[in-house]
Subunit: 206 residues, 2 copies
DNA sequence: CGTGGCTTTGACCAAAAGGTCAAAAGGATT
DNA sequence: AATCCTTTTGACCTTTTGGTCAAAGCCACG
């Protein structure tokens, strides 16, 4: 299970690993793991296939590398949820950050979406340990706020799920959103943000 | 682009097409189109590969067959949204039906999710015509209710998106939900429904 | 400017994949 | 039971795919 070459050494390695990661992100996020081919990734990275496999030992290694790199970034907004902040403001900020990630990093969102929809075979353990622990902890913080009557009551775990689903929807189902809104509304994000702020404000105001 | 054999004739055909559809639903919903193989589907349907290809001319034909069969079922709950009903009750009922579909037909939900996340190459047109038209129509109904002050204001299109994302999340991201909630909570749906009823009630009560 | 390690490549392989076909087997109808 | 149509299959073909390898090219440093 050794993954090799996780840390770039020379500047050529740095450059090529970055190109491969970038290309792999595009390809994997569009076709899922099994639907993607090494050739495709190599072509997008403008490397020959053997050259690509010089940097990563296998297709799976590239995928795992992406996933583990991303996991941290992905959880950062939730980590930033501050016990000592204003409850509603903290939750709205978290929601806004997640929405921004959907807008600015839709491929990353879709990479995760593909992985999870397909049963998360490669990150299930991560979800059951790191993710669960973080969510449990933040859910407790939110429950505390509710106990103090500073925001209205609602199941904290499902509250977090709802932030995930509502924000990631705009990245993962982007095509559908655009199909429904039509070409005269090319950027749904301003309305989405306004809508979500209203939603969470109304729901959480005591 | 002819798809052949859409309607079963003999009872053997009926049986085998049903078995193929069932197997294909499982496989496609788990691996996406490109990640699925005809062998896999044939094996699950307990047919030989050539035998399967006697009923459908190609892998793509099976996929298209599933997708178009499902599309109707999928939109039924939204079609049922009644202009003359009680606004909040109508929206809650729609939400509940969608949630029930996530619980009872998670594979169907994931089949769509896979297709959309990967850019909806095979149903984009459907989305831009049928789906858009239906959504626009129902959004107008909801906007009407808001104009009459019977429910609180919020962007109707994004309201519909939020019902989709919140309910489908429990089917599409099922693995994640279970990983976070842990094994002692094997059925998240009762809490999910309670949470979503609260959410939409608070948001839409004037 | 030459040497040693890093990088790149063309040629190649075995396995997997989508799909074809002719012939055999099975079913229903007379 | 003879016949005709439907169904099933084994063998086969081509393309794609993940991955290997030895040899060639390149680069930095002494």
């Amino acid at each position: 299970m050794a993954m090799d070459k996780p840390v770039p050494r020379t500047r050529i390695q740095k450059k090529n690993i970055a190109r491969i990661s970038e290309a792999a992100l595009s390809v994997f996020s569009t076709y899922g793991f099994r639907g993607s081919t090494v050739d495709q990734i190599a072509k997008q990275a403008k490397l020959s296939k053997p050259n690509l496999l010089y940097y990563f030992p296998s297709k799976e290694a590239i995928h795992t590398h992406l996933l583990s790199t991303l996991m941290d970034t992905w959880l950062d907004p939730l980590r930033a949820l501050d016990d000592n902040g204003d409850p509603l403001e903290e939750i709205l900020t978290y929601m806004r950050r997640k929405l921004q990630m959907s807008r600015d990093h839709p491929r990353e969102s879709r990479l995760f979406a593909n992985e999870i929809v397909q049963g998360a075979p490669r990150i299930l353990t991560l979800l059951e340990t790191d993710l669960k622990q973080l969510v449990d902890q933040k859910a407790a913080v939110i429950a505390g706020w509710m106990d103090q009557g500073r925001i209205a009551r609602a199941d904290p775990h499902h509250l977090i799920f709802s932030i995930w689903s509502l924000t990631q929807h705009y990245a993962d189902f982007d095509v559908q959103v655009h199909a429904v809104l039509g070409p005269e509304k090319p950027d749904p994000y301003p309305e989405a943000e306004a809508y979500l702020v209203t939603l969470f404000t109304r729901m959480l105001t005591p």
